[in-house]
Symmetry: C2
Subunit: 229 residues, 2 copies
Amino acid sequence: MNQAIETVDQGNRVQDTKERILDAAERLFAENGFATTSLRQITAEAQVNLAAVNYHFQNKESLIRAVLHRRIGPINQRRFDLMDALEFAAGESGPMVLEDVLRAFLLPVLEARTSCPEMRHWPRLLGRLYTELHGSLMELFQREMAPAAQRFTAAINRAEPTLSPEGLAWGLHFGIGSMAHFLAAGELLKFISRGIVDPDDHMEALKHLVAYMAGGLRALRTENKEAAQ
Amino acid sequence: MNQAIETVDQGNRVQDTKERILDAAERLFAENGFATTSLRQITAEAQVNLAAVNYHFQNKESLIRAVLHRRIGPINQRRFDLMDALEFAAGESGPMVLEDVLRAFLLPVLEARTSCPEMRHWPRLLGRLYTELHGSLMELFQREMAPAAQRFTAAINRAEPTLSPEGLAWGLHFGIGSMAHFLAAGELLKFISRGIVDPDDHMEALKHLVAYMAGGLRALRTENKEAAQ
DNA sequence: GTCTATAGTGGGATAGAC
DNA sequence: GTCTATCCCACTATAGAC
């Protein structure tokens, strides 16, 4: 009709193409990894032209960057909302429960698989990310995760003040590893448990992961160090 | 000189070529991953001809298989030796300490990086393995790891009888994830700890990992389930 | 903005001389 | 068993018509 509407239409179609590429890339990267997924697979799945990916994103690395960037913000926003609620409930100097903090950290990732359809593949992608990314991509990820790392480190410290900075770092790292491994290789749970555990039950996973991380972190408190060794 | 020595020489050269390929492949797979490492890189590093890899191993997948197979046996043998000693010390019905069992599981992997030069890259490779392998390679790995999985499941159960089979499976899976993530992405620890933790101190890592896993597993005991949630 | 066609690269694998 | 040379394929990226 008029120019304004034409612009909007064009804009929507662009959005559509870009997002279809991002969706397809997210799914395939999650399923098969970054290195083994080709742009051809992505454009085929997204039902767009091969050249579109180079037009909208310059190259494969920038596409990976865009896929990651699109999700990190909302996930961390959800984490921060949950932490805001916790801190409001605890007040200035009230107690903070370690399990609650860990749940605020883990829930947004685990629920992504079920609650929000378009985030279905993020957890698995996150699982892959930690072992597959190198160089500039890893730096991007660290940069975007820094505020969350900082806030949760402080919150865990408030919940467990006797945990040393070193112990907290080890424990958080181990916990992220547990989460990532579960997200990327959940099928191994069927093997280890000989079929009695269902890796797709995310609320069960959350419950166990929260309990496990809390127990592990508490075991790293300084007063437990001699007992453990 | 004579035929016998010639044969030995030839035999050694063959051994040498095959092992040089395996060594180079192990290092490069560990460093850069399976998919992104090319046979050309491997043969260049091993200083052998490109065709040698296809002569001695049929193809890339078989080479990966051979790299994994070479290490799994000795690692698990060391684990079993440590478990033999533990079980001998505990006797028929004596107590078994969870931390000792976990140390028997983890030590052979962590010490590989330092004690035995030619095993230097195995830990990192193991870290990559869990998220990068698919299909037949994963099946090979599971098959070769099954005896260890079985024995350690039984030993943990003996140490912590109130741990349910489900809880044990979740906990073991989470612990393997912590280990794998530490091995594959130890540099992240520097980021998370803002530089105060050294990921290359393996004995420190072992101490923390044992304490963390033990604490995590104990938190999954049935009597703790309600307390945790 | 979208498409076709293709350049340019690097990979896995093999044939065949030595 | 080793090497050179090469085939063939898949990939990323781009040029240029529409």
